[in-house]
C-alpha cells in the first residue's frame, strides 16, 4: 500500500511493533542543558520502578547525564534544538539471563568511529574529558554504534541485582 507520496506505509511491521512494545519508556529532549534535569527525573523514576537500589540509581543517572552532555558537546557541537532520544527497556540479558535495565541514547549528529571513543588517561589531571570513563565505570556494559543514517547509538546496561 502506498501513501500519496508513493512511500510505503509500514503497517503491522512486526519487528518495529516488537521493538516499541519492548520499549517501556521513550523520552525525547532537545540537546539543551536546560533539559538535563528532565532526563535525570526520568532515569530515577524508571530505575525505581525497575527495582534498582538508590546507589545504583544514582550511578545510572550519572551515566545517562554524562552521555547526554557528550551528545550536546560533541555530537551537536553545543546546545541546540536538535533531538536526543532516550529509550529505557527492562530486559533479560542473554548472558546469564540476569534482568537488566537497558538504556539506548540516539542522536542525529556527527558520526564517529566507535573504536575512537574511549576514556582518557586519568593521570593527566585536567578539567573535562572523563565522561566516557565514568559511563564505562558505573555501567555494566556500554556500546557505541553508528546509527543507520546519521548520528550515534549508545547502548548501556545496568544489571538489576
Amino acid at each position: 500500500m502506498l501513501s500519496q507520496t508513493n512511500r510505503p506505509i509500514m503497517k503491522n511491521d512486526t519487528k518495529k511493533q516488537n521493538s516499541s512494545m519492548n520499549t517501556k519508556v521513550e523520552l525525547h529532549i532537545c540537546a539543551n542543558p536546560d533539559y538535563l534535569c528532565v532526563a535525570r527525573s526520568a532515569v530515577r523514576q524508571v530505575a525505581y520502578i525497575s527495582g534498582l537500589e538508590k546507589n545504583e540509581t544514582e550511578q545510572l543517572t550519572l551515566a545517562v547525564v554524562e552521555a547526554l552532555t557528550n551528545v550536546i558537546r560533541h555530537s551537536y557541537g553545543g546546545p541546540s534544538d536538535k533531538p536526543i532520544i532516550i529509550k529505557f527497556n527492562k530486559i533479560n540479558c542473554p548472558d546469564g539471563k540476569k534482568p537488566a535495565l537497558e538504556i539506548v541514547i540516539r542522536d542525529f549528529g556527527k558520526q564517529v568511529d566507535p573504536k575512537t571513543i574511549e576514556g582518557r588517561n586519568l593521570d593527566d589531571i585536567k578539567p573535562g574529558g572523563v565522561g566516557v570513563h565514568i559511563m564505562q565505570s558505573v555501567m555494566d556494559k556500554t556500546e557505541f554504534k553508528k546509527a543507520e543514517d546519521c548520528g550515534m547509538l549508545l547502548r548501556m546496561i545496568k544489571y538489576i541485582e
Binding site: 536546560d34 535525570r40 530515577r44 550519572l62 547525564v65 586519568l122 589531571i125 565514568i134 558505573v138
Partner: protein
C-alpha cells in the same frame, strides 16, 4: 519516589566571608548548565585573592563531570593564586565521582566547614 529538587536553580546558595576565607555554599544538582555559573563565581572569588575558598557541598545531591571539571579548574586557579581550595560535606554519591576519576586525593576534603576552617 519523586525528587522535586532536581531543577538546578540557585545552585550557589550563599557566599560567606570568614576572615580571609570565602565559603561558597552550593546546593542541588551540578551539571553542564549549573556548573557554568559556579565557574564564573570562582573567577570572581579568586580575583579577590582569598586565603582559602571552602566549597560547602553538604546540600549537593548530584554532580557530574562538568562540576568536577569546574572544581579541577578552581583548584588549578587556587594554586596560581597561592590560595587553598577545600571541599566539605560531600555525600557518598558525590564523593563517588571523585573516586571514579581518581581525584579524591588531589583535593582537600573535609566532613564539615568548621573542620576546614580550623585547618
Amino acid at each position: 519516589m519523586t525528587n522535586n529538587q532536581s531543577y538546578p536553580q540557585n545552585v550557589i546558595k550563599a557566599i560567606k566571608h570568614h576572615n580571609q576565607d570565602v565559603i561558597m555554599q552550593l546546593a542541588g544538582e551540578i551539571d553542564m548548565k549549573s556548573s557554568a555559573k559556579i565557574k564564573d563565581k570562582f573567577k570572581e572569588i579568586f580575583s579577590q585573592k582569598p586565603q582559602s575558598v571552602i566549597v560547602d557541598m553538604t546540600e549537593v545531591n548530584f554532580m557530574d563531570s562538568s562540576g568536577l571539571a569546574v572544581l579541577v579548574g578552581a583548584l588549578k586557579r587556587s594554586r596560581i593564586n597561592n590560595s587553598e581550595l577545600k571541599l566539605t560535606g560531600l555525600t557518598k554519591d558525590v564523593r563517588g565521582i571523585f573516586e571514579i576519576c581518581r581525584l579524591e586525593t588531589i583535593f582537600q576534603i573535609f566532613d564539615t566547614t568548621d573542620e576546614a576552617l580550623e585547618k
